[in-house]
């Protein structure tokens, strides 16, 4: 790893300001950044650490909930009240990575981490995400890659918490040199078509401060489910988070989200439309699950992921509409 200076800062704003300077980069838990630096993907002279900035690791369940960006995944997992109100988020956090990593990794870092695509992660491959000319996965080794939006860069977004937050219609609050803003989680991510070299719209000098989750509608239920080859430390083949509210036997509102299938977490709007206003039935669930994967454009080695995604949506819906 290239030699660097660690600059601890006292506020997020200072972190934003310092990290915007040339040769500098921001670090919270540092899990993803140190990995990238070891691979030589990042070679900063200065790492600006917000790890010890006080006051940003709180978990207020509300609802609405407000979770500081520096709250660790381990704390989201073990927070009983959060688990009761927002179970999909607690499960997404608790199922990620390993116990050691969950102790270090923060919610903000989990949202802002970079994809695990094996071409992106090796310096030898000058891929689109690094500003290069080609996506090596498109016609390469792509069994773990995207099945939607595969035209520019076929990586999948690695954040499990983002999948849950999308189902909860969360907002991302940021602070930066240009002031504060609150971004809908859906607008937070940037698709490769727009810019393959980044995954979110954080500007230079902008730092995630907190995530805000609206109060769940009365009668709503939610769930996060993932499918992994290995239970011990593995990335999901597919994951889904679903939130529905049911009133007098009719689904009022449904949010169906798919993760590990596209360059940014994906809302399955087709499925949501089928569910909204309908009465739950096995047939409805099957149709919604089918709609969730409609329009998939799988690659040479990952057609099975379409089926896996459909099965996981079906299982998630069955669980919460039972």
């Amino acid at each position: 790893m290239k030699t660097f200076t660690l600059l601890p800062v006292r506020s997020l704003l200072e972190g934003g300001r310092e990290s915007a300077k040339p040769g500098s980069i921001l670090k919270a838990g540092g899990v993803d950044l140190l990995d990238r630096m070891k691979e030589g993907l990042e070679t900063p002279d200065r790492v600006v650490s917000i790890a010890h900035v006080p006051g940003h690791d709180g978990i207020e369940v509300g609802p609405p909930a407000r979770i500081g960006a520096l709250a660790t995944l381990a704390r989201l997992d073990s927070h009983a009240e959060l688990r009761r109100v927002y179970p999909a988020l607690a499960d997404a956090a608790g199922g990620a990575a390993t116990p050691q990593i969950r102790n270090m990794a923060t919610l903000g870092g989990n949202l802002a981490q970079r994809p695990r695509c094996w071409y992106f992660r090796q310096a030898e491959f000058d891929c689109t995400k690094k500003g290069g000319a080609q996506c090596f996965a498109l016609n390469g080794e792509n069994r773990f890659h995207a099945i939607f939006d595969t035209d520019v860069c076929c990586c999948i977004h690695p954040s499990a918490t983002a999948v849950a937050l999308l189902a909860y219609a969360a907002r991302v609050d940021t602070v930066g040199t240009r002031g504060k803003r609150s971004i809908s989680i859906e607008d937070f991510f940037v698709a490769p078509r727009e810019d393959p070299t980044r995954e979110n719209q954080l500007a230079a000098g902008e730092v995630i401060e907190a995530v805000v989750l609206p109060a769940p509608a009365p009668g709503s239920r939610s769930v996060y489910k993932k499918l992994k080859e290995k239970e011990s430390f593995d990335w999901p083949l597919v994951e889904t988070a679903v939130s529905v509210s049911v009133s007098r036997g009719t689904i009022q509102d449904a949010r169906v989200v798919l993760g590990s299938v596209s360059p940014v977490p994906r809302r399955a709007r087709g499925a949501e439309k089928i569910l909204a206003g309908a009465r739950p039935s096995a047939e409805l669930i099957a149709r919604a699950a089918e709609a969730a994967v409609a329009g998939a454009t799988p690659l040479s080695q990952n057609a099975h992921k379409v089926r896996l995604a459909r099965v996981m949506v079906e299982r998630a819906l069955r669980e919460i509409l039972a």
Binding site: W118, E141, Q301
Partner: protein, 774 residues
């Protein structure tokens, strides 16, 4: 020399045999014997050091003034070095030595091959310096897929002579010179009886093509050494399973006399077959240390470990088998193409030739060279691959003739030990009720299945090892023996055998191992360590004890034969009054105590010989909607001869089983076809089974008293992993009612099999490719 009449065999199958015992070697233990420590569950002698972090592995060695080295490697699979400029690297701060490993004009044959190396005062500076080395490469055409490498006109991995590496743990025949056409070398062939006639007599014939992936050893301690010169004498702390074979390689490569090279391995973090030689990294470290005039540490990182220092080769195996309708095998045939990268020795015929009895057996084994990292011996070379294809074939043939797969195996298995193991294992796994358990109540997506496989192994150790046992005046004893402990428990095994023979508690024994300045110890490969070492230790202890007895006899003024040694001490035949405790007898020894150095005797040719046998059963659960496989339980029944330490022997079987599960379901070196580079050189996407995925493992040992050596000991490391993947694959097939013919078994391969899309190839040479599957 003399012949002893011994009771040999196993429970319920004992027979008397006359066995010739060499002079200086004790008579093999008798089945009626009671042991004080042998066979018990004995904690490792070094367990405290391991549990407190005090154990010093070679990677932990720190010496005053020690430098850190790094290797520059090629990124591309086939290039020629045009020029190499080390000047800039030499001028960088803290750089103390720079070495060209490749020279201009050299062909580099895989991504990750060594080009140059540096030694610096810090690891960071070494890393900076290798990026300052300027190399011009000329690109050459390459091939990384085994089917493409076999095609006419494929780029040649070796244009001239084939340069392969072989090592102590390779499959038999790996070193033999063979014909070569293009990238295909071979065959190594065997032909018994007449397979055409055999197939003619068969009522049912099945054939299938089975493919397996490349698995890397992935020991947690990577390859590497710390090298130090003192004058013209070289000392190397190596992570190795053969301190003497490392010494040999360093001596030959560097032109230093064997007497001036010392290799030390105090603790070692796993090898699994890949760590017999000094390797490029070991030789490089020694050269850098010489140039710098300071000790050099060179350990690989995880990526280098995956790329360059060994793997279990891939295979494409076409198997054909025939049987009569009453269940007798009539013919077995195998054609295998193995992908060992730039290395050969990729055969898989062991199980097919040796497990089941068949009059007509024909095998042809071809190495297919590709531009990828060289294979190395890996825990039962060729056998997990071969067992996977053979055992699937046995299940298919049994189904074809309408016979239970267990019954079919029992009819064809010539090993009475394994037949007994099959019966024990079948009982434990609940074989009889397996069909009834296929459907899982309340969960229509789940299916359960049970499958089985046979283990075989051959080695029972051999001559060469020497050990010195010294008995001190205070009654304690010291064993010195140049074996290394790669984690198997060899150190403890040495202590237990000495304690048993001397009748001493283990605490009274000091065990010194892991240094080439000690009497020669065997390389730890081929599951030969225990059967080579244990009899040597026992012989040395027995001889040393006889020397104590001789001193007692001399004090009593009686002939040596009149003194009887026992755990309690020494007594005289026919005179109850004459007795001395062990401590008293030792107290009379001279200041230097007594020592005996014994050599490993030859294996007894008239012993109760057999191939080492094992049987494993797997119980799996398959989600038929997602294709996900979970192994619920593995029952492993093994012949380990006479177990020295039940705790460590059981641990070896557990380890073999989990590596087999990991191989069956997860591990896969994936090469990018377009660039020839490995895409998963880590332990994130090179998936190794972990704590959540390990099933219940039920281990049973069937004690076998064979008198091949004086301790009846047999190695267990390799047989324990031979049949696991086969049993898991057969269990998956039982669960889903469809055959999967490639490893690893993944969700997509299970779904494809369920969909009936699995391609059943009838001809050898089916198109296939290494790594990921379509």
């Amino acid at each position: 020399m003399g012949k002893d009449k011994l009771r040999l065999g196993f429970n319920g199958h004992f027979e008397e045999k006359e066995v010739e015992i060499a002079a200086g070697d004790p008579t093999p233990w008798d089945p009626s014997q009671t042991f004080s420590i042998l066979g018990a569950r004995t904690p490792r002698l070094d367990a405290r050091a391991k549990a407190t972090g005090a154990a010093r592995y070679s990677i932990d060695v720190r010496l005053p003034g020690m430098l850190y080295a790094r290797i520059l490697r090629s990124h591309d699979p086939a290039t020629v070095v045009r020029s190499l400029d080390l000047t800039a690297a030499r001028k960088m701060p803290g750089i103390r030595a720079v070495l060209a490993i490749a020279k201009p004009g050299d062909a580099l044959r895989f991504a990750g091959q060594e080009v140059a190396a540096v030694a610096a005062d810090t690891p960071e500076r070494a890393l900076d310096a290798i990026s300052a080395i300027r190399v011009e490469y000329g690109a050459r055409p390459f091939v990384v897929e085994i089917d493409k490498a076999r095609a006419d006109g494929a780029p040649l991995v070796f244009e001239g002579k084939v340069e392969t590496k072989t090592s102590a743990g390779d499959a038999p025949g790996a070193k033999k010179a063979l014909p070569r056409k293009g990238n295909v070398q071979g065959p190594r062939a065997s032909d018994k009886g007449n397979v055409a006639e055999g197939f003619g007599k068969a009522d049912a014939v099945v054939e299938g093509t089975y493919s397996t992936q490349v698995q890397t050893h992935s020991a947690l301690e990577t390859h590497g050494v710390v090298a130090r010169w003192e004058g013209d004498e070289l000392t190397v702390w190596a992570s190795t399973q053969g301190i003497f074979s490392v010494r040999e390689e360093l001596s030959q490569t560097l032109g230093v006399p064997l007497s001036k090279v010392n290799v030390i391995t105090e603790y070692m973090g796993g090898g699994f077959g890949a760590k017999f030689g000094a390797g490029v990294e070991g030789v490089t470290a020694a050269k850098l240390a010489k140039e710098a005039g300071a000790p050099v540490k060179l350990f690989l990182d995880r990526k280098e470990e995956h790329l360059a220092v060994g793997n279990r080769p891939s295979s494409v195996q076409w198997v054909k088998a025939g049987a009569t309708k009453d269940g007798k095998l009539t013919a077995l045939q195998l054609i295998v193409h193995g992908g060992g990268g730039t290395n050969g020795g990729t055969g898989t015929s062991g199980p097919l030739k040796n497990v089941y009895a068949c009059d007509n057996v024909k095998t042809e084994e071809f190495d297919v060279f590709t531009n990828s990292g060289p294979s190395a011996a890996f825990r039962a070379p060729g056998h997990p691959q071969g067992a996977f294809a053979l055992e699937a074939t046995m299940d298919e043939l049994a189904a074809r003739i309408g016979m239970d797969p267990l019954e079919f195996r029992l009819k064809n298995d010539p090993s009475e030990v394994r037949r007994e193991e099959f019966r024990i294992g079948a009982e434990k796994i609940g074989w009889a009720g397996r069909d009834a358990r296929r459907r899982v109540p309340d969960n229509p997506a789940l299916r359960r299945g049970v499958g089985m496989g046979a283990a075989i192994w051959y080695n029972t150790g051999g001559t060469g090892p020497k050990a010195t046992v010294t008995i001190h005046r205070d009654g304690s004893a010291e064993v010195v023996h140049g074996v290394q402990d790669l984690g198997t428990g060899a150190r403890t095994m040495v202590g237990i055998v000495a304690a048993e023979e001397l009748g001493l508690p283990l605490e009274k024994i000091a065990v010194r191992i892991g240094d080439t300045r000690m009497p020669y110890g065997p390389g730890s490969g081929g599951s030969t360590t225990t059967p080579s070492t244990a009899p040597t230790i026992r012989a040395a202890a027995w001889q040393a004890k006889k020397k104590v007895a001789a001193s007692v006899a001399s004090a009593w003024g009686v002939p040596e034969e009149a003194v009887v040694a026992s755990a309690a001490g020494f007594s005289m035949n026919g005179d109850a009054g004459k007795r001395l405790s062990w401590k008293e007898a030792c107290g009379r020894l001279p200041e230097e105590g007594v020592s005996a150095t014994a050599s490993r005797a030859e294996n007894h040719p008239d012993a109760w010989k057999r191939f080492t046998a094992g049987a494993q059963f797997a119980d799996v659960e398959v989600d038929v909607e997602t294709g996900l496989v979970r192994v619920r339980k593995v029952v492993a029944v093994h012949d380990c001869g006479l177990v020295v330490n039940a705790l460590t022997a059981e641990s070896q079987v557990h380890g073999g089983v989990i590596q087999g599960i990991s191989y069956a379901l997860y591990e896969n070196r994936i090469l990018d076809r377009a660039t020839g580079r490995m895409v998963n050189p880590n332990v994130e996407q090179y998936k190794i089974v972990g704590a959540m995925d390990v099933p219940e493992i039920d281990v049973t040992f069937l004690p076998v008293w064979d008198a091949v050596n004086n301790t009846h000991s047999v190695g267990i490391g390799e047989p324990a992993t031979v049949p696991t993947a086969a049993a898991v694959a057969n269990a998956v097939s039982h669960a889903i009612g469809a055959r999967i013919r490639s490893l690893p078994i993944t969700p997509e391969s299970v779904l494809a099999a369920l969909d009936g899309k699995a391609r059943v190839a009838a001809m050898p040479g089916r198109e296939t490719r290494e790594g990921g599957r379509a």
